[in-house]
C-alpha cells in the first residue's frame, strides 16, 4: 500500500503549484469578466491540446517513440468523419465510427511501420514518424485538399450560458467535458481492466511481462490504437472551436503546443499532459489578451517553458525523477 502512496508524496509540490494556478484563475475570473472569458476559451482549446498531448504521452510510455505524425493522423480521422457525414451519417454516428476507425489505423500503423523500428535509436523512430507525417499530409491533400470549404457540424452549437455576466460557451464546456470523459475512460481502462494491466506491464517491463504470458507487441499496438483515439477526439473537438472549417493544416500548430504541453507535464505522466495542455491554452490566451506587443514571441515562450522544464525538471511537472544506474 505504501508503495502506491510514496510517489504521491513526491508529486505534492507540483500539485500545490497547479492548485495555486487554478485558484489564481478563479479569483481573476471573479474579478474581471474579460479574464473569465479568456480563461474559459483557454481551457476549452487547452483541453484539445491536452488530449493530443496525452496521445503523445501514451505512445511515449508504451514505445518510447515521439510520434511527429500524431497531429496529422488526428486530422486525417477528422476528414474521415467529414466524409462519413457527407455519406449521410449523423454527427454522433460519425463521431463514434471515426473513433473506431482511428483505433484501427493506430494499431495498423504500429504493426506495420513502428514495430520494426521501435527498438532502434531515437533518430530512426523520429524519422519514421516524420515520413508518416509527410505521407498522411499528402493523402489528406490529395483526397480532400481541393474542397473550397469543408466543415463538421458543431455538436454543441454556438449558444452560451450566462454566469454572472460572463458568457460561457456550450462549445468550450462540451470540449472540456468530452476530453475529460475520454481521458477518464482510457484511465479506467488502464487501471481496472486486464487488458489495461497487460498494456501497463508491456510498457514498463516488457521482458517480465512476456514471461508472464503477456503478448507485448499486441499490447503496444493497442496503446497506439488508444492514442490514435485520443488524437481523434482532440481534432474532432478542435475543429469546431476554430470557426474556420476543416483544412489539412488543422492540427499543425496544435501539435507544436501539444509537444510543449507533454514535456511540461512530464512525458511519462498522463495527468501532466492534460494539465500542461490546459496551462498552455490559458497562457496563450492571456498573452494575447494582456500583452499584445509580445505577440511574435508566443511560440518561443511556449518553447522556453519546454526548455526550462527539460533543463530544470526533466521529468516534467508531474513526472518522477528517473535515476540511471551505472
Amino acid at each position: 500500500m505504501t508503495r502506491f502512496l510514496s510517489p504521491l508524496a513526491r508529486v505534492q509540490p507540483t500539485v500545490y503549484l497547479v492548485v495555486a494556478g487554478a485558484v489564481f484563475l478563479l479569483v481573476g475570473s471573479l474579478a474581471s469578466a474579460r479574464f473569465a472569458s479568456l480563461t474559459v476559451g483557454g481551457v476549452g482549446v487547452g483541453a484539445a491540446y491536452g488530449s493530443l498531448a496525452l496521445a503523445l504521452v501514451l505512445i511515449y510510455r508504451a514505445t518510447h517513440v515521439i510520434n511527429f505524425a500524431q497531429g496529422e493522423l488526428a486530422m486525417l480521422t477528422t476528414y474521415v468523419a467529414y466524409q462519413l457525414i457527407q455519406w449521410g451519417l449523423t454527427y454522433w454516428e460519425a463521431f463514434f465510427a471515426t473513433l473506431a476507425i482511428a483505433f484501427v489505423l493506430g494499431t495498423a500503423i504500429h504493426v506495420t511501420i513502428i514495430r520494426p523500428v521501435q527498438h532502434r535509436s531515437v533518430i530512426g523512430t523520429v524519422i519514421v514518424t516524420v515520413g508518416l507525417f509527410i505521407l498522411i499530409d499528402g493523402i489528406a491533400n490529395w483526397k480532400w485538399g481541393g474542397i473550397a470549404y469543408a466543415q463538421l457540424p458543431s455538436p454543441f452549437g454556438f449558444g452560451s450560458w450566462d454566469v454572472g455576466g460572463v458568457p460561457i460557451q456550450h462549445l468550450y464546456v462540451g470540449m472540456f467535458g468530452i476530453v475529460l470523459a475520454s481521458v477518464l475512460l482510457v484511465w479506467a481502462l488502464f487501471r481496472f481492466t486486464k487488458i489495461g494491466l497487460g498494456m501497463r506491464a508491456a510498457a514498463l517491463r516488457p521482458a517480465a511481462a512476456s514471461l508472464a504470458g503477456v503478448r507485448v507487441d499486441a499490447m503496444l499496438a493497442l496503446g497506439w490504437g488508444f492514442a490514435a483515439v485520443l488524437g481523434a477526439v482532440a481534432a474532432l473537438m478542435y475543429e469546431p472551436s476554430q470557426f474556420s472549417g476543416l483544412t489539412p493544416t488543422l492540427m499543425q500548430t496544435a501539435l507544436v503546443y501539444a509537444f510543449a504541453a507533454a514535456v511540461l507535464g512530464g512525458l511519462e505522466s498522463p495527468a501532466g499532459a492534460l494539465v500542461g495542455g490546459l496551462a498552455i491554452g490559458v497562457f496563450l490566451n492571456m498573452l494575447a489578451g494582456y500583452a499584445p506587443q509580445l505577440v511574435s514571441l508566443e511560440v518561443p515562450f511556449a518553447f522556453a517553458a519546454l526548455l526550462a522544464t527539460l533543463l530544470i525538471k526533466p521529468s516534467g511537472l508531474f513526472g518522477h525523477r528517473q535515476v540511471q544506474r551505472v
Binding site: 515521439i66 511501420i113 535509436s121 499528402g138 511560440v299 518553447f303 527539460l310
Partner: protein
C-alpha cells in the same frame, strides 16, 4: 595505405563528375546541383553530430537560418564580399553551436530531440520580433556583387548565376569534407565515437564528455551556417524566415539518416534525397503531381528507415562485405 585507396578513388571520381556536370547539364539542373551541394554541407555537419557523436538534433535548420541572415544582413548593410560572409557565418554559428551545446549536455535522446525541436520552432520567429533590423516578414535582400573565388577574376560571371553558386557550393563542400575527414580520422573523431558508443566507458577512458559533446555541436552548427549562407545565395540573395521553418530541420535529419555513416556516397545520396526529391519536376507522371510528390516522398522516407537502418552507407557496407565474402570463396557468413 590500402584502406585509404578506395576512399581516395571515390573522392577522385566524385570530384571529376562534379567538375564536368556544369558543362553537361542545363542551367536549371546546374541550379539543382547547387542545391544538392548546399544540403551536402548541412547533412555532412549534422552527420558529425548525430552519426559520429550520437546526439540528436531536430534543430539544425535554426543554424542554417542564422548563417543565412548573417550573409544577407552583412551584405545588405556593408556590401560585404559574399564569400567572406560565409566565413563569418561559419564562425558565428560555431560559437552559437557551442553555446547551444552547453545546456544540451544535460539532455539526451528524447529530451535533446525536443529541446532542439524547440530551437527549430523558435528561431524563425526572431526576425519577426526584431523586424527593424532583421526585416520582419519582408526578409532581407543581399545587395553585394559576388566576387571571384581565390581572387582570380572570372570572365562573364553573372551576379549569383547558377554556375557561380554551383562552383562556390561544391568548392566549399570539398573543403569542408576534407576538414571533416581530417577531424574524424584523428583524436577528436575517436573521442566522438567513444561518446556515441558509451558515455560511461568514454568518461572512464578519460574522454572529457563536456568538451567533445559541445565541440560536436559547434562544428555541426558551423557547417549548417555555411549551408544557410549558400542557401541564401542560391535564392538570389534573399533571406526570409519562412524558408527556415521546422520542416527544414526535419529534412536535414532525414538526409543524415538516409546518408548513414562513414561514406561520401552516402552523404551525396542523402543530400540528393532531400534536395532533389521534393523538387521533382511536375512533368514526371504521377510522382510529379502536387500530392503525388508528398505521398511518394513520405513512403520513401519510411521505407528507407525500415529497410536500410544504416542508411545508404550501411547498404554499401553490406554490399562490400557481400562481395568480399564472394571473393574469398569461402562459405558466406550469414549477414545479420
Amino acid at each position: 595505405m590500402r584502406k585509404q585507396l578506395p576512399a581516395l578513388g571515390s573522392v577522385a571520381i566524385v570530384a571529376a563528375v562534379l567538375s564536368v556536370l556544369p558543362f553537361v547539364l542545363s542551367d536549371y539542373n546546374v541550379y539543382l546541383g547547387a542545391e544538392v551541394g548546399v544540403f551536402f554541407i548541412a547533412v555532412l555537419g549534422l552527420n558529425i553530430l548525430t552519426g559520429y557523436t550520437g546526439q540528436i538534433s531536430i534543430g539544425h535548420g535554426a543554424f542554417m537560418a542564422i548563417g543565412a541572415y548573417v550573409t544577407a544582413v552583412m551584405s545588405r548593410d556593408h556590401q560585404t564580399n559574399l564569400v567572406l560572409t560565409m566565413l563569418v557565418a561559419f564562425a558565428a554559428c560555431f560559437v552559437i553551436g557551442l553555446l547551444v551545446g552547453l545546456p544540451a549536455l544535460r539532455l539526451s535522446g528524447v529530451s535533446l530531440a525536443l529541446a532542439t525541436f524547440a530551437l527549430a520552432v523558435s528561431v524563425p520567429q526572431l526576425p519577426l520580433q526584431w523586424s527593424n533590423y532583421l526585416g520582419g516578414s519582408l526578409g532581407v535582400q543581399a545587395s553585394s556583387k559576388p566576387s571571384s573565388l581565390l581572387g582570380i577574376s572570372m570572365p562573364g560571371v553573372a551576379a549569383l548565376s547558377n554556375r557561380w553558386i554551383y562552383g562556390v557550393a561544391w568548392a566549399a563542400s570539398a573543403l569542408l569534407f576534407g576538414m571533416a575527414w581530417l577531424i574524424l580520422r584523428g583524436r577528436v573523431g575517436r573521442a566522438f565515437r567513444a561518446v556515441r558508443d558509451s558515455e560511461i566507458a568514454a568518461v572512464a577512458s578519460g574522454v572529457e564528455l563536456g568538451l567533445y559533446k559541445t565541440l560536436a555541436f559547434g562544428i555541426s552548427a558551423a557547417y549548417a551556417g555555411v549551408a544557410g549562407s549558400l542557401f541564401v545565395m542560391a535564392s538570389n540573395g534573399f533571406a526570409q524566415s519562412q524558408d527556415f521553418l521546422v520542416v527544414l530541420s526535419l529534412q536535414l535529419l532525414i538526409g543524415a539518416a538516409v546518408a548513414g555513416l562513414g561514406s561520401l556516397w552516402g552523404i551525396l545520396v542523402g543530400a540528393a534525397f532531400v534536395g532533389l526529391l521534393p523538387k521533382i519536376s511536375t512533368s514526371v507522371p504521377l510522382v510529379g503531381s502536387d500530392n503525388g510528390r508528398d505521398i511518394v516522398y513520405g513512403l520513401l522516407v519510411i521505407l528507407v528507415m525500415l529497410v536500410l537502418p544504416g542508411g545508404f552507407a550501411g547498404l554499401l557496407a553490406r554490399l562490400r562485405s557481400l562481395t568480399r565474402d564472394l571473393n574469398r570463396e569461402s562459405i558466406p557468413v550469414k549477414l545479420r
